[in-house]
Amino acid sequence: MQAASQQLGNAVSLDAVTVAFSVADGGVYTAVERADLSVAAGEFVAIVGPTGCGKSTLLNVAAGLLRPAEGSVRIFGEPLRRLNPQAGYLFQADALFPWKTALENVAIGPETAGVASAEARKNALAWLTRVGLGNFAGRYPHMLSGGQRKRVGLAQVLIRDPKILLMDEPFGPLDAQTRQIMGNLLLELWTADRKAVLFVTHDLEEAIALADRVVIMSAGPNAKIIGDWRVPLARPRDISEIRLEKEFHDLHREIWSVLKDEVLKGYAQSTLAGAAS
């Protein structure tokens, strides 16, 4: 009974999710095996794990882009059968439409939903301004810096007001300063409107600084969730300052002691696989 009501409150809940890929030589690669993960409504959860462990795979499952071989995916208690209509997805790779301007990229979501073009554009401009790109509305993606493109991507997703925000290493390719600025921007937007966030990163510091909970994945194959920590740091937070606090360091040390082994394992695996192929 307790478990059921708990599930209803969860924006996302993955139960014993297994994802397998068929690979070129005819075999099957089980990337993720029996992973359990839940995100409560309004909760900010960060997933950390070594490269190639299956973080993007889990997000794709939560987005409905990828069907798990086994296990169940529930979105606000409902089994997910098709694409997740409640989710906004900020992809790891560049996903903006290169042939649309920043404004058109942001307006396309509402336009797709049937909002009149003029109104969609007005709203899009407001969102671009909110992410600090009000003066860049007419630029095409290739005329924007990596950080600016991520901001457009964020606006593109948030303008649709999804209940769930899936973010795949959104600040991965950015430099340290820009990452902090983007992190603060994200927290600011999230504080104004608390969505359930599933945030993938390979950067443990970033995860602790941003999230309510940090979840650790083991190295693949057969990756699963091997750790789950609550972040006791008070909000509102400033990303650059929070790193100086003692609680931050203690938690970082504790999680890192678990993560370190997995990172080494993941590294060994990826180099092994590289040598074999």
């Binding site: 987005a63 882009l65 694409l83």
Partner: protein, 262 residues
């Protein structure tokens, strides 16, 4: 290098080449001219011929015919290439069935078709349009096909997550991608349209630049042949400049080639 400097160097090449031509055809070295004017004409004769054509006004009709044939071949070939390329890319079964035939037709040297088109469509413009069409169509077809196929999977996934229906995907993702590939092959397809027109005229017609060159060749009028070739070259360059301008407008969203931040 700035534009003026570049243009100056480009003109210098022409001047040097014409200079060599002039010297070799008019100045005897050790009693013989390096290039006999009977076979190579002279820059002066060729220039005089072009001026004569322009002054008498005979050239305009031929230019107009060639231009008309090229434009028709380009437009019809492009429309067909876009539609069929798009259809094939979206219907894998259709593409698989027609694959060997497409390859066969594309490998066929189009020149062998010219007499057949002349037979079917007569010696007027349409046999030339048909020849240009067979060249333009395949360029556009392959590019559009590729453009639809090579849409970034991430962009596609993003579009779907943003709630696009299949029809909206066509309009906002596949279509722009296909067109961008088509536009990036604009120089090739426009060039082929002109080639089709001129070769068709050359092989049998009563008007056009190809006809002009063919007529001159028939009477060993080398100056006429060269004059025709030069007019054709200038014609092609002007069209190419026009295409570049159009391309620049259509592909504003593309990073310039060599822009590392692509």
């Amino acid at each position: 290098m700035n534009r003026a400097g570049l243009l100056a160097l480009q003109l210098l090449i022409a001047v040097v080449l014409i200079g060599i031509w002039h010297v070799a055809t008019t100045v005897p070295i050790g009693g013989v001219k390096l290039l006999p004017p009977f076979f190579f004409s002279t820059p002066y004769d060729v220039g005089a011929r072009i001026v004569k054509w322009l002054v008498e006004g005979t050239i305009w009709r031929h230019l107009y015919i060639t231009l008309l044939e090229s434009v028709l071949a380009f437009v019809i070939g492009s429309v067909a290439g876009v539609m069929i390329g798009f259809w094939f890319a979206r219907q894998q079964l259709v593409a698989a069935i027609f694959d060997p035939y497409i390859k066969m037709m594309n490998a066929l040297p189009r020149v062998v078709l010219a007499p057949i088109f002349a037979l079917w469509l007569g010696l007027g413009i349409w046999s030339k349009v048909a020849l240009g069409f067979t060249l333009v169509f395949f360029v556009v077809f392959f590019n559009v096909y590729q453009g639809v196929k090579e849409v970034s999977p991430t962009v596609l996934a993003n579009a779907r997550m943003l709630g696009m229906s299949e029809r909206q995907l066509l309009r906002h993702v596949y279509w722009p991608s296909a067109l961008s590939w088509m536009f990036s092959s604009l120089h090739t397809s426009v060039g082929f349209a002109v080639v089709g027109a001129v070769v068709g005229e050359y092989l049998g017609s009563a008007a056009g630049l190809g006809y002009l060159i063919q007529q001159a060749e028939g009477v060993f009028d080398v100056a006429g042949v060269f004059a025709g070739m030069i007019v054709l070259a200038v014609f092609v360059i002007l069209i190419d400049v026009l295409v570049s301008m159009v391309e620049k407008r259509l592909l504003v969203w593309r990073p310039a080639p060599g822009d590392a931040r692509a």
